[in-house]
Amino acid sequence: MTEPITVLVVDDEPPIRRFLRTSLSAQGYRVVESEAGADALDRLRGSPPDVVVLDLGLPDMDGLDVLRNIRRHSAVPVIILSSRSDEQGKVRALDLGADDYVTKPFGMEELIARIRTAIRHRYQQEGACAVYSNGILTVDRVRRIVRVSGEEVKLSRREYDILGLLVAHAGKVLTHQFILREVWKAPTDVQYLRIYIKQLRQKIEPDPHEPRYILTETGVGYRLSEAL
């Protein structure tokens, strides 16, 4: 067994830290705790963790500033704990380089899934996830072939670019602006993205009205459901 994965939990609420410590430890993670932003930054410089779980509402400094500071010298995966109905805060955190978020209150399954996805993407070279499959939808990124239940689906170039990007970050939320930047490489209206997503869903979703692969994070962006 290699070194356990270290999680730095930054939250000022002792009960939250306690249940995270207990649950994450039980899952085999090593947990380091911090109750304030400045302290968290110190710890980060000392012995860098493998992943940071950061609450946006800290007593000493704005969680977004902590994130900005982290990103100045570290690419460590950061999962944000955000409050409900703060989609703008989530988007800003993601644009500042956060890897993902969970909304308080959250279930442990959800947080652990996010942590796993973030770590996997961080330590995986681009292209390592050459083939995505969730059992029905298969995306071969090397040969640029998309199949649904074994049947090849014809996608336009831009549709494929979007799907490819989602596959490369499978399980992670991608903001509208991120997708627009990566695919269009020029300032573009979010309406275009919505239209392409709609077309994509028509082609690959079993029920485009109730998508199961390309999930909508309203007000934030899109997330491709985890590969099975």
Binding site: P105, S156, R158, Q191, R194, H209, P211
Partner: protein, 528 residues
Amino acid sequence: MDGTITRVEHHRPQRRVRRARLARRIWPYLAAVLVTAAALLVSVLIEKQLAVANVAVVFVAGVVLCATRWGLMPALLACTLSVLSLNFFIFPPIHDLTVEDPENVVAVLVFVGVAIFVGRLAAQARADAALAEHRAEVNNELYVFARLLTSIDDLDELLTLTARQFSERFDNDVVLLLADREELELRLSLPPIEALEPLDAVLAEQCWRQEERGIPLDGHASGRFLFLPLRAANGTVGVLGLARDGRPPELDDDDRRFVEAITDQVALAVQRLMLAADVQRAQVQAETEGLRSAMLSAISHDLKTPLASILGAATSLGTYSSYFEQQERDDLVATIREEAERMTCFVGNLLDITRVESGTLQLHSEATDIEEVIGAAARRARRVLGDRRLVLQIAPELPMLEIDGVLLEQTLFNLLDNAAKYAPPRSTITIDARRVHDRMMIKVIDEGPGIHPHEVNRIFEKFFRSGHGSRQRAGTGLGLAICRGFVEAMGGRIIAGNRTDRPGAVFMIGFPTLKVASAPPLPLADDD
């Protein structure tokens, strides 16, 4: 230098006024002369045919005319001139002021007596008529004003009207102060001033407390304003202040009567409006209290119930863990989870309704795909819907709306959650979205018992829970209030109704197509 110019300019209009006043004063006497001359002319013309006494009647007519038109003094002048004319031109010897015939001496005396008597009567009648006319005018003005006052139900409007009435009639500066609890407060001034000068403030206060009608007119320690109390049945509701040219104006008796009549009317109206405001405040307070008790019962129920379950399950697990089978442990854990989720939902609703009501709701409107938002709401609602079937009927090619997708998703979730509470298991819930004329319509249709006709209008009220079927449903009574708040914040409307084809409720959200996002031209060219 400047002073001279000012004085010259100041005098010029005064001189014109004085000249006009002089002309007005002289004119009646001039008229009396002219009337007498006319009478003389007529007398000379008819003298040949008629007796001297009849001729005298012509002059009497002239005197009466003067008396009725211009008053006593011009009439006396006319009388004197008439006597002289009679004497000089009519009674022999003509062209001589002596009277030969004793009969004519009597005639002259009678004439003078009649002329004076009639002249005085006529002059009195004229004065009475003028006074009556003036009073009628004032009364009419008061009547119109009083009518206006009764039709006003806004205090500020009332004060403005009052101030304007005074400033127009007397060409005054006007201030209105109203008593608010134990304080006299400057409510309006014309022309606007920030505050009363200290002396005026004291005088106003005195006027209000002592209910004395203003300060002495000779004005030792005179401020700028003459203050008059606004007296109503049970006390002085405020004070009216008048000033002219920076000094308290002098009011004659007529003015005073007028001012008093008006201040009484205003006082009554102010009192009426204040009472109305009190009643309204009491109503609002009663409603607030009703709402507060509803909220308290909701909070105590919706927070305490899950807390009790959670605490019970957790202590059981802690204390008796070893006695439980795995199945029982799982049940307790499931209880904790479900109840915590219920509480989460309730707290979320409380936050949402607070955002709606405190006005801190921030809209992040952008081009939104309705179908996508419906899909997201449907996914979120899966668990609360249980085994109920959800059918999505979404018309193809719906335009994008310029709205806040997060708020719409929460609205749809709340509607689905509500449907899940009332619709029986294994029934079908339908979301139908389509464009109808110039509106985007989203309907959530269930197969529950429907909404009682009496409750259709109240269903969106806070803490309103349907008593339909005499079963109190679980829930906070906030979900639908939030829906309405969110939809209206986005410029849409939401209404509730019943299905016509079978029992069931229909909630319909409508957005005007004004909300349709202007579609960008599709850049299909750079695609493939």
